[in-house]
């Protein structure tokens, strides 16, 4: 199956755009990826370490507010606290718009897809009451710089990041026999250790047992995020003695290097290679991927020590990545009448964020219009509809991130959300909607299905024509 530019833009990018020609070939896609990150430059998001307002600022104002209760300073302290809350909320909106805008304007859609994919692999949610605006800065700091590097480096950055340490309770975990654990009578919290093995590296079917989870949890003690002091490694919290994880015994020294050594070994493990290979193939190609494709990705990962660029190259090299994937026919209950046959095309369904992003890109909605939306407008036209579609921004259901399966998104409510958005919102965001007969080519390319072309001609209004095109399976799948 030869390289197909339209499929490349839809399956591996953020969709077709009237502004950018689809990628010429796989080499061009990889070259763009190693080039400068133009989208991030155009729509910057400050990394966690410099993001404002910081957790420290929040806590200091929160303390000041409590201290001022019943004093003449009470009103001023309350006002200062409310001001920082609003600032954080507005900052989160800025991040939402920037993340959306990057995928709308970029010539290099694959990078945006990778950023979403790996951010989901290392899912965090804000656990601190003040941290709602710090998820995107975490992605900017721990994920985005490593998209084209080694998985081991991304693993170190994400697994030890303050947001992850808070999200998976690591900051609360301490060795039961450590000085701090003894003094406070506290012990291990296994949450991060378990998810590291189950989700981030080996996979749920990987070769580990409860003993490994326990040992890794002991090994990770000492990692903390102190909202005032930031990331820290505190030997006083570390369980004394050497831990053995997957048969390897690590240094008894309570230091960050011991944690890094264990993470590096996990990154290099063949089960990690297999887990990530399958996950990449599932995300980009099919919920039931070709075993040859998965094996090729796994082998390239192992041969290169987890060099992600090499893995992406293997993905583009493999014929299965470009093959039409039959759309599965769900028939859970026998029904009378003809059973529809499988339809060749793409089997994956865009999650709501990617769906909205690719629609705005195809519609060529000016990014300046998006980033200028105030919170109320953004909620009405973007954030709220995403929630109805089933994907509230930055609020995945658990540490395993968003679902991959088409059936998770194509539900009655999900479809009501998509169809409703497609009919109403493009007209609210654009002065002039494109002619549906042209838009069907812009959005789907020359291979648009005949039924969608027909609908584009037959709609009774421009808005409904656009709405039907954006509601079609051809546009919703990738």
């Amino acid at each position: 199956m030869p390289f197909d530019p339209t499929l490349a833009a839809i399956r591996f990018g953020t969709g077709l755009s009237p502004r950018h020609a689809p990628p010429r070939d796989a080499g061009a896609m990889l070259a763009a990826l190693v080039g400068p990150d133009g989208a991030a430059q155009a729509h910057p998001i400050a990394p966690f370490s410099t993001a404002a307002p910081s957790l420290r600022a929040f806590r200091s104002l929160s303390r000041a507010r409590r201290a001022a209760l019943g004093t003449p300073q009470e009103a001023a302290a309350e006002a200062a606290f409310q001001e920082i809350r609003l600032r954080a909320r507005d900052q989160r909106t800025v991040h939402f718009h920037a993340t959306l805008a990057r995928g709308i304007m970029t010539p290099d859609g694959f990078r945006e897809r990778l950023a979403l994919f790996w951010a989901d692999h290392f899912t965090v949610r804000a656990r601190n009451a003040f941290g709602g605006h710090l998820v995107a800065p975490y992605v900017e700091e721990a994920i985005r710089p490593h998209l084209t590097g080694r998985f081991a480096d991304m693993l170190r950055a994400a697994a030890t990041h303050p947001m992850m340490l808070d999200y998976l309770d690591q900051s609360r975990s301490m060795g039961p026999n450590s000085p701090a654990g003894q003094r406070q009578g506290r012990g291990l919290n296994e949450n991060l250790a378990r998810e590291l093995l189950e989700l981030h590296t080996l996979g749920v079917d990987g070769p580990y047992g409860q003993g490994d989870v326990r040992q890794l949890a002991a090994l990770l003690t000492g990692l903390v995020h102190d909202p005032d002091a930031g990331f820290d490694y505190r030997p006083r919290m570390a369980e004394p003695g050497a831990e053995t994880v997957l048969g390897t015994t690590y240094s008894a020294r309570a230091e960050l290097a011991t944690v890094h050594a264990a993470l590096d070994d996990l990154a290099a493990h063949p089960a990690t290679a297999a887990h990530l290979a399958r996950k990449i193939a599932v995300h980009f190609v099919s919920d039931d991927p070709d075993p040859g494709l998965v094996a090729a990705l796994r082998d390239r990962y192992l041969a290169t020590g987890g060099d992600l660029m090499a893995v992406y190259a293997a993905l583009f090299d493999h014929p299965a990545a470009w093959a039409p994937v039959p759309v599965p026919v769900p028939v859970p209950v026998p029904v009378p009448g003809p059973v529809p046959g499988p339809v060749p095309g793409s089997a994956k369904v865009k999650p709501p964020f990617a769906y909205v992003q690719s629609a705005l890109r195809a519609l060529d909605v000016p990014v300046a219009r998006i980033v200028a939306l105030d919170l109320a407008a953004s909620r009405r036209w973007l954030m709220g509809p995403l929630t109805v579609m089933g994907q509230s921004w930055e609020e995945p259901p658990g540490p395993d991130g968003w679902p991959e399966e088409a059936e998770a998104w194509v539900t009655p409510q999900g479809m009501a959300g998509r169809i409703g958005w497609a009919m109403d919102v493009p007209g609210a965001l654009l002065e002039t909607l494109p002619d549906p007969r042209d838009f069907v080519r812009t959005a789907l390319g020359e291979a648009a299905p005949e039924a969608v072309r027909f609908a584009a001609r037959a709609a009774e209004s421009v808005a409904e024509g656009i709405g039907v095109i954006l509601s079609s399976p051809a546009f919703n799948r990738r």
């Binding site: 209760l69 749920v204 194509v410 009655p412 009501a416 609908a455």
Partner: protein, 414 residues
């Protein structure tokens, strides 16, 4: 194991739901609701102050703990010990009819960290904690798993919020009244055409339109009664803009309750949704009054909407934890432990405040600050399910709330 199995199972359920709407299958063919009774579970997100909603004014320590919040004026006496917050006055007639009741001094097993996030997860998971097995399914879903022949319409999660309580391997439907579909007849035909070759999209969209049409038909009926029939054409109504309910009540919570009542009149037997606005750290008199007003509107809307089915319905309103016994320095309360449950419904043996009252003296409080929980709130939810749907005790104690001791029957139902 946590994720894949459950999610797969869940998805099968969603598909089952879609098939029901297929033009080839009449809804009657799948009408198999296993019971006639109805259960509504409302999650009060943000931690309701049970000590203000149902005020233990008969406890001598109460007034001193609540210098500005304990205000006898406006409070309706319930039984000589407890009084009802003024904002709940509209549901006082239900109390008098035995269709409203409360449980005081209960909680989930969650202790000490007092985080909304964890507290709600534990409330909806129905487990002792979150660290143990990492269960990501909810107790209502586990209850459904124990029933053969459940279809997606049997249980509805309603609203924008993710409802962990209904997530899991058993089929359950989900709908938000915020979902809008305004389609011309021509747009419907064209959608049908572009979806024709893709069964997944076809079935889901069909089901969405069926729900929207159902809502539109209900709206037309409601309006017909008010001599305004014919103003709404089926299919051109926004699903979210059904008529205001009884007494012209309005708001998101009313729409959730209307939608729930509409489903429960049909094939649905279980509905769950949430109401927010309970985290009253400051100026509680104002904010709690509004939240209780919403709750009261919700109960009234459910009762009106369920009509004759109200007699077969129990409503249980649960919150993640209670709030501090003492008022704080900003005329509010902070995160606590023991709290209250509100029960309603025609199936209820109400008119009572249940619960073993622990007292409010310094030494009675949990950690010197919170109302001491004297019973696991899951026991009340468990007895409700047992009474409504006839589950064996072993199912409740083993599968729905693993490890729970149901204890003595509080006799919640008639």
């Amino acid at each position: 194991m946590r994720n894949t199995l459950n999610r797969r199972g869940f998805l099968t359920g969603v598909l089952g739901c879609s098939v029901a709407a297929s033009p080839f299958v009449t809804p009657i063919a799948l009408a198999s609701a296993p019971w006639d009774n109805r259960l509504v579970v409302i999650i009060l997100r943000g931690a309701m102050d049970g000590l203000d909603a149902v005020q233990p004014y008969g406890d001598p320590a109460y007034a001193a703990l609540r210098p500005t919040l304990a205000r006898p004026e406006g409070m309706a006496d319930l039984d000589g010990f407890y009084g009802l917050h003024p904002a709940l006055a509209p549901v006082l007639p239900l109390w008098q009819k035995g269709e409203l009741g409360f449980v005081q001094a209960v909680s989930t097993p969650y202790r000490d960290r007092r985080s909304h996030f964890d507290g709600q997860d534990i409330l909806e998971a129905g487990t002792p904690g979150l660290d143990a097995g990492g269960a990501r399914d909810g107790w209502l879903n586990r209850m459904l798993q124990a029933v053969p022949g459940v279809v997606a319409e049997t249980a509805y999660a309603i609203g924008r919020e993710q409802m962990l309580i209904l997530t899991g391997a058993a089929p359950a439907a989900r709908w938000s009244p915020d979902a809008r579909l305004r389609l011309s007849p021509q747009a419907r035909l064209l959608l049908e055409r572009v979806h024709a070759d893709d069964p997944l999209f076809h079935a889901a969209s069909d089901q969405a339109l069926a729900i929207v049409d159902g809502l539109a038909a209900e709206a037309v009926q409601d309006r017909a009664g008010q001599d305004r029939a014919g103003q709404v054409m089926a299919g051109q109504v926004m699903a979210g803009q059904v008529m205001a309910g009884a007494g012209g009540l309005r708001g998101d919570h009313v729409r959730l309750a209307q939608f729930a009542a509409g489903r429960l009149r049909g094939e649905t037997r279980i509905a769950s949704f949430s109401i927010g606005g309970w985290d009253t750290h400051g100026n509680q008199a104002n904010f709690l009054g509004r939240a209780l007003g919403r709750l009261s509107d919700t109960i009234i809307t459910l009762r009106e909407g369920l009509a004759q089915d109200w007699d077969r319905t129990a409503v249980i309103c649960l919150t993640e934890f209670g709030r501090t016994a003492r008022e704080n320095g900003t005329r509010g309360t902070d995160h606590g432990t023991g709290g209250a449950v509100l029960l309603a419904g025609g199936a209820l043996r109400g008119g009572r405040v249940l619960g073993d009252w622990p007292g409010l003296d310094e030494s009675d409080l949990y950690a010197g600050r919170d109302l001491m929980p004297t019973r696991d709130v899951r026991a009340h939810a468990g007895w409700l399910m047992r009474g409504l749907f006839g589950f064996d005790r072993a199912v409740i104690e083993g599968a729905v709330f693993p490890g729970l001791d149901l204890g003595a029957d509080p006799g919640l139902l008639l």
